[in-house]
Symmetry: C2
Subunit: 212 residues, 2 copies
Amino acid sequence: MSANTLNSTTCNNSAPVGRPRAFDLETALQKALEVFWQKGYEGASLPDLTEAMGINKPSLYAAFGNKEQLFLKAIERYENRPSAFFYPSMQEPTAYRVAERILLGAAAEHSNPQHPPGCLMVQGALACSDSGQSVKDALIARRKAGFEQLVQRFERAKADGDLPADADPQGLAGFIITVLQGLSVQATNGACTDQLHNIARTALKAFPQTQA
Amino acid sequence: MSANTLNSTTCNNSAPVGRPRAFDLETALQKALEVFWQKGYEGASLPDLTEAMGINKPSLYAAFGNKEQLFLKAIERYENRPSAFFYPSMQEPTAYRVAERILLGAAAEHSNPQHPPGCLMVQGALACSDSGQSVKDALIARRKAGFEQLVQRFERAKADGDLPADADPQGLAGFIITVLQGLSVQATNGACTDQLHNIARTALKAFPQTQA
DNA sequence: TTAATTTTGTACTGATTGGTAAAATAGTTT
DNA sequence: AAACTATTTTACCAATCAGTACAAAATTAA
């Protein structure tokens, strides 16, 4: 196992001993992320990955462990990428604004032609063989974590008074997450940004809006 | 290719010439359907399929062609199974009732513990390798066909007056389909019927309701 | 310069993938 | 009974899967 795991810009500026790595860890991981995004965990073969990453298999295994660990690092990068919108949306001032930013963000991002359609958290491993079960479970856990965060945000909104006293944070969060994930399937179908935007706007009509 | 393709109850009661088939085509197809439903097209291996179907590979190939054709026959059966709810929902008298039946039907059916969670049309092949592309495309086409049917139903509803004159059939149909497919992901997460029902009810609040 | 260390490219592994060849078997037809 | 036909069983095929052994290469440390 290497000393610096995934830190391309290490503080230690003295070059490490041994032959230097000929590729950049982050850009290679980004390429792997895009392959997984397009083909899913099991649909992405090692030749698919190594070709996109511009490295060969021993380099991949030395740097990332194995295919499963590479995938887990890819979804971690996915959630922290600059254009990620879900968790940043929590900081909006009202529940409605949170819901709006999530769904409009998904409409734009899931149909962005600069990367594969849809959401990696959904496309990655929805149904798979027995050997993919652990990765599928990891994605389920991540999706549930997002849901729980949204429930908490809506509970806070209820306490803050920007959601009605009779609002159901659990139900509303479940609804927003469901539309979010449905938009991922729509994007796979080839829907463009305008169509997804239209769907998001329709969904938002079901969301309680205390003030405009 | 066999004379009787998929007709277990043939009108011709004289036994066909040759060694009789030792299994029932429909029940074998049903078993294959359930494997695909659980694991997806590529996640279902031939041993997975033959074991569930209770036959061996040459029997599978003789009866169904190959894995891809077996899958296509499985999704055809899926759409015509007794508990299918999507197309029958079109016959409801109003657009709202159509939307309601689709979403409540999905809430119940996608979480039915008697079969795998979610919808085969979504779980079957959302993201896959290059070799699964044709099956993925077939599922996209089926999903789009369902969407188009719903658009037409809502356009008729607009003409009938049970949708407002300013209603957007395309947008409304896209929204209902999106929630429908999102519910499939939720079911994969392990959501129970009550949770899906709650989400469906929330979604229906976004749907124009001319009369109760 | 030599030793130590790490990555690289090549070639390989055993297991599994979808698919099939061929003979044995179970029926109908003549 | 003999001929015919279709299915079953067993054994196999080439291709691909994820993963690795090993030696050459490239760097730092001594």
